[in-house]
Symmetry: C2
């Protein structure tokens, strides 16, 4: 049916323009990264403009405006006919007082819409196209639909390597870029997927003790049982303002902070909000996401760890080499010195899985405790050695010995203590590390050798046990690949705080513990650097 | 930071399970096809489960449940800590009384998620996969993100023709399927893109007067200045219950109704809600959408009109042939008899563009009025003739003459009047057809021949003038391809009810009227059937 013409008619004749004015209101609803606007079904602009629920509209006030998804309200207690409501984040982003005069209109399509449509049709885009798209994404101009369309249309294979460089460059440009005023700013990064693998917390104090500048910002777990930020948070505050990070780095040459507050490559965070529910793990996005974050953080030299193994993200050496070359190409276009290290990803690194258990392993290595997991120690020294060799004064091949010396002399521990104190130490008793209330041993069902450990299953079990939300929940591995076990031996121990968590984790273990016990001949060997 | 463990702890110990019970509430917010659930930030289940805003959650009450996107509320006036709110449509879908006891939990992924992820990775899917996906889509289990990912991942070229058949079959199965208990149920469909082209309103009364069963359901305009349902609505009520449609068809062998109420291929409507904002016009989706609607409506024989021209959806004969073969393949797998007709899509059909102007043209053809546009008359007779030849008693080649006889004898007009009366005639005065308050003539800027008319531009101008919302707004074409004009002659007249509409339409005309005036040699000829 045609709309009632009366209000449109009289307004078009200019009789009562003020009926288009609405009062801005914050609606106390949290819609996270999605801007939502609330209009009463009875309000004049809603009736005139022919909006539909879920239309994209612009809310305009003075020289500011924000694009939002429309929800139509039938309850004057939420918004009345003379109001326009905004969800909490959107209200904050617009940055005006409640009661300000605002108008609404159909949202203009984001400026980069044409480029998006061309990519959906399979075309190659230019550098300017990617800058336009990423700018619109980081400023919240894309709806979830447009964002998803972009990510699927640029999924594996749909971009060439120059396009990946354009995307990376655009992501760096979309946010803040830190400058450290030094020739060399080093960092390391692992592409992920290996539980336990907390090498950053060892590498950073070692290379900083050597004198390199290493302002490390890390992420929290997304799908893993713990991210470096989660594990570091057991020992120290990681939630630091950018200003405070800069002070700490100037004083101690390093930090181990959470990267979420620094506005580095903000488009990446928006894209992750769609990649996560789709379990999208595209090489394209991985390269652009990792390199843009590092370059925005001011790194000049990056060591990239690519673990390979049957349950790692990368399954074999040829795939790792392809990935390495793609990283190298984009890094070189971005003037970042990149070294890669293809490492053994057949099993978790260290014994503890979960924030507190991992922090225990890290501290044991730093303290040269004989109980320290040797694989974590060895891998960290190897990585730190390679980073130390970024130093032009260090001869190739000498890095490992220098790193080991720094660790064994206690200088790495001292540096870590400085960093912890500077960030704000947590009060804890080292003996409490593993004192979760509940535990359960997962045992070997036959005699034999541990021939395979499934990284994904171990991660799932640790998450069900409560990690990373419950810091002392997780898994402690008693045996690793190549160990000989007897039937009934403990393979690993589950730790949980809550009975239901423990129950769910045990149920999953019963469907498969993640361990394969077989004969020595079945052990998958690797011919990697270490 | 880890969550406060207190409530989780005591609940896990089973002390106070009732704290998980919430009271169901309807929140008076219209979020259209997206289910939204509202939880107070202070409610116990929110704090325990670690939901995030925009998480997908299940609201469970008794044996019913609904999946919704979570919005977190900080205003007890909207929902209190002991309530769970649902948006208007979601509340209606769950179908329980306010105050019912409900619980919330993390949503299970839709059952077809695995298949969706495989399609995103570029794999070929099975018939069962498509049935699972379409079932989940039609039942609202997919988030906007998942829906968009599916549509982009199955965009042009990403599905083979068997997959398109599987998708079509699944879309038919997702809704109601009408049965007419006759051997032959005929229909026609145009792939669209040609303004004015209202042949259905002529073809349906002609073939019904011949005795064929033609229960036509049509759509409203999405991006065009009018759909068949919009134009028919000028003359008659089109918003009919399925039961009433069945009665009318039984009595008159035909109807011209809006198809939106019949629950035919409901997954299609959900997919369109994403295709529209992305301007997605994928061949895949076109074939599945058109054929699933027709088959669900009970058609056994379909005549498909594929117009080609420089500004039509299909630009040339080879593309039209490819499309025809794809339609034919899927139709034959679905046991639908399909004929195609590749038609002249170089310009609008008829003179009027917009609901009331098009209705005027249709009535002039039916009334054998000398002012009737001859291209609309000729094309409609051609289509009707081909449909009449579906009748086994009609010899090939005789259909056109039969159709012309039905039209010229007034039997088509009589049948149309019966249909209008049965659906519910609108009161109108035929002389009011073009009496919009405001008009403006677009004139030729030089002498010459009309050598091109841009369908897209004509459609845009007509929409800006107010069509289809303002039924008597639109365009009346004074000249068509091949006409010779003098500088200053009227090419077309704009009609509008509101000054601002007229102004916007004139502004667009000034950037380009859509008409090219040139020399006779520049006229693009066609070698089509007509």
């Amino acid at each position: 049916m045609p709309p009632s013409p009366a209000p449109r008619d009289s307004l078009a004749a200019g009789e009562d323009k003020s009926r288009l004015d609405l009062r801005l209101k914050q609606v106390a609803i949290d819609t996270h990264l999605e801007n939502v606007a609330y209009l009463s079904r009875d309000c004049i602009p809603y009736r005139i403009e022919g909006f539909q629920a879920l239309s994209r509209i612009d809310v305009v006030a003075g020289d500011r405006h924000i694009t939002a998804t429309l929800n139509v309200v039938d309850d004057p207690g939420i918004v009345g006919p003379e109001e326009v409501g905004l969800s909490e984040d959107a209200f904050r982003r617009l940055g005006l007082l409640a009661g300000s005069v605002a108008r609404v209109r159909h949202a203009e399509k984001p400026a980069s819409t044409g480029a998006l449509f061309r990519k959906i049709s399979g075309e190659r885009l230019t550098k300017a196209d990617y800058h336009g798209i990423v700018q619109d994404i980081s400023q919240g101009h894309y709806s979830k639909i447009e964002l998803t369309a972009f990510l699927i249309a640029t999924n594996n294979g749909a971009m060439d390597r120059d396009e990946i460089y354009y995307l990376t460059d655009a992501m760096v440009a979309s946010g803040r870029r830190l400058g450290w005023h030094e020739h060399m700013v080093v960092d390391k990064h692992c592409i992920g997927g290996i539980p336990g693998n907390r090498t950053s917390m060892l590498v950073v104090p070692i290379v900083a003790a050597h004198g390199l500048l290493c302002p490390k910002t890390s992420s929290r777990a997304i799908t893993s049982p713990s991210g470096t930020a989660d594990t570091m948070e057991v020992l120290a505050n990681v939630n630091l303002e950018p200003q405070r990070i800069a002070e700490i780095v100037r004083e101690h040459r390093a930090c181990l902070a959470w990267g979420g507050t620094a506005d580095l490559s903000p488009a990446d965070d928006v894209m992750i909000s769609v990649e996560r529910p789709l379990s999208l793990d595209s090489t394209t996005q991985m390269v652009a996401s990792i390199l843009s974050k590092k370059i925005a953080a001011g790194s000049t030299h990056l060591l990239l760890d690519i673990p390979i193994g049957p349950s790692a993200k990368v399954k074999n050496v040829p795939d790792a080499q392809r990935l390495r070359k793609l990283f190298e190409y984009v890094a070189s276009r971005m003037d970042l010195k990149l070294e890669t290290l293809v490492s053994d990803g057949r099993q978790p690194i260290g014994n503890g899985i979960g924030p507190m258990l991992e922090a225990r392993d890290v501290m044991r290595v730093l303290e040269n405790d004989p109980r320290a997991p040797q694989d974590l120690r060895h891998k960290s020294l190897h990585l730190a050695g390679r980073m130390i060799e970024f130093d032009p004064d260090v001869r190739g091949g000498e890095g490992y010995a220098i790193a080991r010396d720094i660790l064994e002399s206690g200088r790495a521990l001292a540096k870590m203590k400085d960093i912890i104190a500077a960030q704000g130490a947590k009060a804890f008793n080292p003996n409490d590390f593993v004192r979760a209330r509940l535990s359960h041993d997962v045992i070997a069902e036959r005699d034999g050798m541990v021939t395979a450990i499934d990284n994904l299953r171990i991660a799932q079990v640790a998450r069900l046990a409560g990690a990373p939300k419950v810091p002392n929940a997780g898994i402690d591995l008693a045996h690793k690949l190549g160990d000989t076990v007897r039937k009934g031996d403990t393979l690993y121990t589950l730790y949980a705080e809550y009975p239901s968590d423990l129950m769910f984790a045990i149920q999953l273990c019963e469907r498969g513990s993640g361990y394969t016990i077989g004969d020595a001949a079945e052990l998958l060997h690797t011919w990697l650097e270490f």
